[in-house]
Point group: C2
Chain length 304, copies 2
């Protein structure tokens, strides 16, 4: 496969995992004219794509055997492992010189393992997790963080641009996942700042909409206070990104940190608060539900 072939006419694309994110990302690729073969565990979730003309395959292996370029966007680390290393997994079917791209957020060490195993089979593996949530996926405005061989990453640039507005090559295999972890470490601590700030303001009797307006554009300001802060006040916990997936990500970051003797006390604390949301059956709410943990702890309710 040379770079000319990475065009809609000549490139067969495989897509594995058509959930809340994957469905939209795959759709953007199809809309650009690529022929796509899909597989996802629950076939009904692929119906829209099949109706658009995608071909169905019976396994990741089957998808990969028909594709020059195979993407995966699945769930937990175990799902990634099954998708790549299982009996009917991608690597058992991938063609020589094809490219396999895992866009799931997963352990950097697993991305390296996939890369090494793929290399043995003369397959190019790339880790390319994204940030931007379901809205970013729908609007094709994700941020894509890429690890793997640079010349392979460059060949993917055109197709990544169908899904994202910020495409960053970060380094060798695993570097995309590590960058995503940097994002989650920053976001987790920031979310706690947003929740604590609003609970403090509530207890002080302040008008919290005014507080967000006053502090959201200064040195403390950022995306989270301005976008998720108002949702916390409105009690709008619809998921842009599920608590249960965030807990997965924070667990990956903590495991990687522990493996390298890295103490991250803030991350460890925020992780525990998010785990307490799981304990209360709130895993399918959005990450802004962290406010509920602070409310429960303090016996207050932000919504008037």
């Amino acid at each position: 496969m040379n770079s000319d072939q990475n065009s809609p006419k000549s490139t067969h694309v495989g897509w594995i995992g058509t959930g809340v994110m994957g469905k939209w990302m795959c759709k953007h690729v199809m809309e650009a004219g690529y022929k796509v073969t899909v597989f996802t565990r629950t076939k009904s979730k692929a119906e829209e794509l099949l109706a658009m003309g995608a071909a169905w395959a019976e396994s990741p292996r089957d998808v990969a055997s028909k594709s020059d370029l195979t993407f995966s966007m699945v769930g937990y680390p175990k799902d990634i492992r099954d998708t790549y290393f299982g009996e009917n997994g991608i690597l058992s079917g991938a063609k020589k010189n094809s490219i396999v791209v895992d866009m799931t957020t997963g352990p950097p060490s697993l991305a390296q393992e996939i890369f090494n195993e793929a290399k043995k089979r003369e397959v190019h593996a790339v880790d390319a997790p994204v940030s931007g949530g379901d809205v970013g996926a729908r609007e094709g405005k994700l941020s894509v963080m890429i690890g793997g061989e640079k010349q392979i990453a460059e060949r993917l640039n055109t197709i990544f641009q169908l899904m994202g507005k910020t495409i960053n090559y970060m380094g060798p295999a695993g570097a995309g996942q590590h960058t995503k972890m940097c994002n989650q470490v920053l976001l987790a601590n920031t979310m706690l700042g947003v929740a604590e700030s609003l609970v403090y303001g509530y207890k002080a009797g302040l008008n919290l909409e005014k507080v967000i307006a006053a502090i959201g554009s200064g040195a403390a300001g950022g995306w989270a206070i301005n976008n998720l802060g108002p949702k916390m006040l409105q009690g709008d916990f619809d998921p842009g990104f599920f608590v249960e997936h965030f807990v997965k990500d924070l667990g990956i970051a903590l495991e990687e940190a522990r493996r390298t003797n890295l103490a991250l006390p803030g991350l460890a604390l925020v992780d525990q608060l998010y785990v307490s949301l799981l304990a209360n059956g709130k895993g399918r709410l959005g990450t802004q539900a962290l406010a509920l943990a602070l409310e429960q702890m303090n016996n207050v309710e932000l919504r008037k």
Copy 2:
């Protein structure tokens, strides 16, 4: 004093505290044509203002007795207390119907105490802490958060606009200080996110400038990662805002929270890390020095 009188011609302004912030704020007021009387503990720090034509007074009491509008921008809560309640303090000298404005960041409960004591003397007190640091003060781009009587706050709008670009009336006495605390609670947690994210990325072998570029504009992004993150990487710890003043602020927020039975575990953790900077003689560095606490804890150094 009616609102007409709040003009440079007819309003005598007093200014107490001409440190790194107060000097610039007072200068903007003078440049608008106000006659100003100043006092500061270390007279040499007022020299520039005196050379511009400010009058010198021997005490806060002396300043207040000559002013329709007296501003204070001092240091620690003890300094605020001395400045207002001391034998030669503002309240012993303030004229009836004059306005006194404390712009120092201090305890909300102290702001309420000043307000009540002032009221007994028929003096109007306002708390109006700011955010934006020395750069914001110099450029007249502070964010001003106001507590006190609304009609008094409105009469100050013109003069606040000389110092700040965002002027927010937040509610009764203490509400300005409480809002500043919301800002600091959010900022503190965010700073820990920035430092932990970069230390994680360092340990993972990533190019940290690229990491900031990749995550700074997404859901995790904000002012701190984009402005203080690069300084952490460069080892530039010049103070925009001193660690020792931030520790003061976090202590105020924690005390207010404890007084009202409010648990803020993230804030408590970040406070301890900033206190560890004081233990290491780093109180006069900027708040971005939090990176040094994470580096020391993890035996790494971000700067190559």
